[in-house]
C-alpha cells in the first residue's frame, strides 16, 4: 500500500513501464526492448512478418525497399560479431544504410557517460539504433530518456533481455512444432546471467506454451525465477522428461572463477545435453541453442550437429526476425512522426 500516488509526480522522475515505452497509444511498436509488456498480438505480428521476410530470403531477390534512404546505426557497447552481423544483414535487406559505431573503442571507453555519448549520436539523424549494452535497463533508458523518437532495438542489455533472440527462437519453434499451446519447453543452463532465458520464458508464456521449465544448479538460478512463469528443476533428467523443445544456454568460462561451478567436466556430466540425456525428452523433441556453442561443455557435438538440432535454422530465422522488428519499429516511429505533423494518411491509390 503506497501512501502516495506517484503517478502524479513529474515525468522526469517517473519510470515508464516496458509497455508504455515500446507501444504508442495506438498499440503500435515504436521500440523493441523487451518481451515484457508486449501483448500476444504484437508477438504474433512479429512472427508473421518475420515469416513473410523469410519467404523473401528464400527468393532470388533478398532485398525489399522498405527502409531505403533510412539509416540504421549499430551501437554495440559489448563485443558481438554474430549478432551485429545479422542485424547489419537484416538492415541491408531492408535497403537501409547501416552505420557501425564501435563505442567500446571510442567515447565510452574514455569515460563519457551513456547519456553524453548518445546525445551526440542523436544529431546523426539515424532512424533506428540497434543497441547492445552491458547494463540491464540500458535500452529502456535510451528509449525513454534519450532518443524517444528514434526506434531503439535492444540487441541485449546486461542480464535483462534479448528479445530478438527470443523471437527468433519462437519463430523456429513455431515453424517446426506449430502452435505453442501443447508445447513443453525446457531451458537448460546459466539462467542467472542469461538475458536470453528471461526473454524466452516471457515469450513462451505470452504465446501460451503449456509448460516452461528451467534446469540448472542452484548457483545458476535467479532468486524467485519461478515468478517469471516457469517450473524449476535442478536435475536434468527430470527437467527434460517428455519435453518437446530443449533450449541449451551457453556456459561462460568465468562461472568457474566466480565459484558458481566447480568445473566444466562436472557441469557437462550433470547438465550437458548428450544423446543419452536427450533420450529423456519426447522422441520428437527438437534441440536449440542461441550460440555460440561450447562443444563438450553444455552440448555434445553429435547432438548439436544431429537431426534434431535446429541451431542453423535459428540463425536464418534471426535475420528475418530482425528485419521484422526493424521495419515494425521504424514504421511505428514514422507514423507517429507523420501524425505529429498533423498529416492525415492518404487513402491507398490503386
Amino acid at each position: 500500500m503506497n501512501l502516495f500516488d506517484l503517478s502524479q509526480a513529474s515525468a522526469d522522475v517517473r519510470a515508464a513501464s516496458p509497455a508504455q515505452v515500446q507501444l504508442d497509444e495506438q498499440g503500435r511498436l515504436r521500440h523493441f526492448l523487451d518481451i515484457e509488456g508486449l501483448p500476444r498480438s504484437v508477438l504474433t505480428e512479429i512472427l508473421d512478418t518475420a515469416d513473410h521476410f523469410r519467404g523473401i530470403g528464400d527468393a532470388e531477390v533478398k532485398k525489399v525497399p522498405l527502409l531505403r534512404g533510412r539509416t540504421v546505426a549499430n551501437l554495440f557497447f559489448e563485443n558481438s560479431t554474430r549478432t551485429r552481423a545479422t542485424f547489419e544483414l537484416a538492415a541491408k535487406r531492408l535497403s537501409a544504410d547501416v552505420l557501425n559505431l564501435d563505442i567500446k573503442t571510442s567515447s565510452a571507453a574514455k569515460g563519457e557517460s551513456l547519456m553524453d555519448t548518445l546525445v551526440n549520436l542523436e544529431a546523426m539523424q539515424a532512424d533506428a539504433f540497434v543497441v547492445r549494452h552491458g547494463d540491464s535497463g540500458a535500452a529502456h533508458f535510451i528509449a525513454s530518456q534519450i532518443t524517444p523518437h528514434v526506434a531503439i532495438i535492444n540487441a541485449g542489455d546486461g542480464r535483462h533481455a534479448h528479445p530478438t533472440q527470443a523471437m527468433l527462437d519462437m519463430l523456429t519453434i513455431r515453424r517446426h512444432k506449430g502452435e505453442f499451446a501443447n508445447l513443453r519447453v525446457a531451458i537448460v543452463g546459466d539462467i542467472l546471467h542469461s538475458r536470453v532465458a528471461r526473454s524466452q520464458i516471457q515469450a513462451l508464456n505470452t504465446l501460451g506454451a503449456a509448460e516452461v521449465r528451467v534446469v540448472a544448479p542452484q548457483t545458476l538460478l535467479p532468486i524467485g525465477v519461478e515468478t517469471l512463469g516457469c517450473q524449476v528443476f535442478t536435475e536434468l533428467a527430470a527437467g527434460l522428461k517428455d519435453v518437446d523443445v530443449v533450449i541449451m544456454l551457453r556456459l561462460q568460462k568465468e562461472r568457474m572463477d566466480g565459484a558458481l561451478l566447480p568445473s566444466e567436466s562436472e557441469y557437462y556430466r550433470r547438465y550437458g545435453l548428450t544423446r543419452e540425456s536427450l533420450a529423456h525428452a519426447h522422441p520428437d523433441a527438437v534441440v536449440m541453442h542461441p550460440g555460440p556453442i561450447n562443444r563438450g561443455v553444455e552440448i555434445e557435438s553429435a547432438v548439436a550437429d544431429g537431426p534434431r538440432s535446429l541451431i542453423l535454422d535459428q540463425v536464418t530465422n534471426g535475420i528475418a526476425v530482425r528485419m521484422a522488428v526493424l521495419s515494425m519499429a521504424v514504421s511505428g516511429q514514422m507514423k507517429a512522426r507523420a501524425e505529429r505533423r498533423g498529416e492525415r494518411s492518404r487513402g491507398a491509390g490503386a
Binding site: 503500435r28 508473421d48 512478418t49 513473410h52 519467404g55 523473401i56 527468393a59 532470388e60 531477390v61 532485398k63 525489399v64 525497399p65 522498405l66 521495419s327 515494425m328 514504421s331 511505428g332 514514422m334 507514423k335 507523420a338 498529416e343 494518411s345 492518404r346 487513402g347 491507398a348 491509390g349 490503386a350
Partner: protein
C-alpha cells in the same frame, strides 16, 4: 458514365465477363501488331484481384507460361504513412531476364500500385517488355501510367471505391471509403 448514388449498386457496374471479353480482344490485336510471341509471354498478376484477372486472361488468351504472382506489399511507397502491409502472400516469379511480361491488375487509379510492381519486377531482373492490362480504370491518376489493354473506364461518386470479388464468380462491387477524396 456518371454513377448516381440512387442506382442499385450491381446494376450500375459492368459485368466482369464483358470486360474480360473486351480486354481479350484488345490484347489479341496488340499481340498481332507488336508481334508478341504468346508462347513465351509471362502473365503476372498483382495480388489479389490482379491474380484472378490474370488467371482468366491466361485462359482466354491460351498463354502457355504458368501464372506468375506479385505481392507488392513491401514495394509500396506509403510505408511512412501506413506502415507495414498486413499479411502478404509473397511473390512467385520465374526468371524474367529479357522476357515479355503481361502485368495484370484489377483496378488502376493513382498508378502507384503499378509503379510498385515495376519496381519489384526490376529488382528481380530486367524484362524485355512489360504490357499492362487492367480490368477497370478510374480517374485520379497521380503518375504517368497507362494501360495497354483496358476493360472499362469508370467514374464513381465521391466516397465510393470499387472492389473485385472473387476468386469464383468474379464481380465488381461498390464500397464506401469513408473519405471524401477518391
Amino acid at each position: 458514365m456518371q454513377e448516381s448514388e440512387m442506382h442499385e449498386e450491381h446494376e450500375a457496374l459492368p459485368e466482369v465477363e464483358a470486360l474480360l471479353e473486351a480486354m481479350t480482344e484488345e490484347l489479341e490485336l496488340l499481340f498481332e501488331r507488336r508481334e508478341l510471341d504468346r508462347e513465351r509471354l509471362i502473365p503476372v498478376g498483382i495480388h489479389t484481384g490482379g491474380v484472378w484477372v490474370a488467371q482468366a486472361l491466361r485462359e482466354r488468351l491460351g498463354l502457355e507460361e504458368p501464372l506468375a504472382t506479385l505481392d507488392i506489399g513491401f514495394w509500396r511507397d506509403d510505408f511512412g504513412h501506413k506502415g507495414l502491409p498486413d499479411g502478404g502472400q509473397g511473390s512467385q516469379l520465374p526468371d524474367i531476364e529479357n522476357r515479355d511480361l503481361l502485368l495484370v491488375d484489377d483496378v488502376l487509379m493513382s498508378g502507384r500500385t503499378v509503379r510498385a510492381a515495376l519496381n519489384e519486377l526490376f529488382d528481380y531482373g530486367r524484362p524485355r517488355r512489360v504490357l499492362l492490362a487492367c480490368l477497370v480504370e478510374l480517374p485520379g491518376r497521380e503518375l504517368p501510367v497507362q494501360p495497354d489493354a483496358l476493360g472499362a473506364n469508370l467514374a464513381l461518386a465521391p466516397g465510393k471505391r470499387i472492389k473485385l470479388e472473387g476468386p469464383d464468380n468474379l464481380r465488381l462491387t461498390l464500397v464506401d471509403t469513408g473519405e471524401v477524396t477518391a
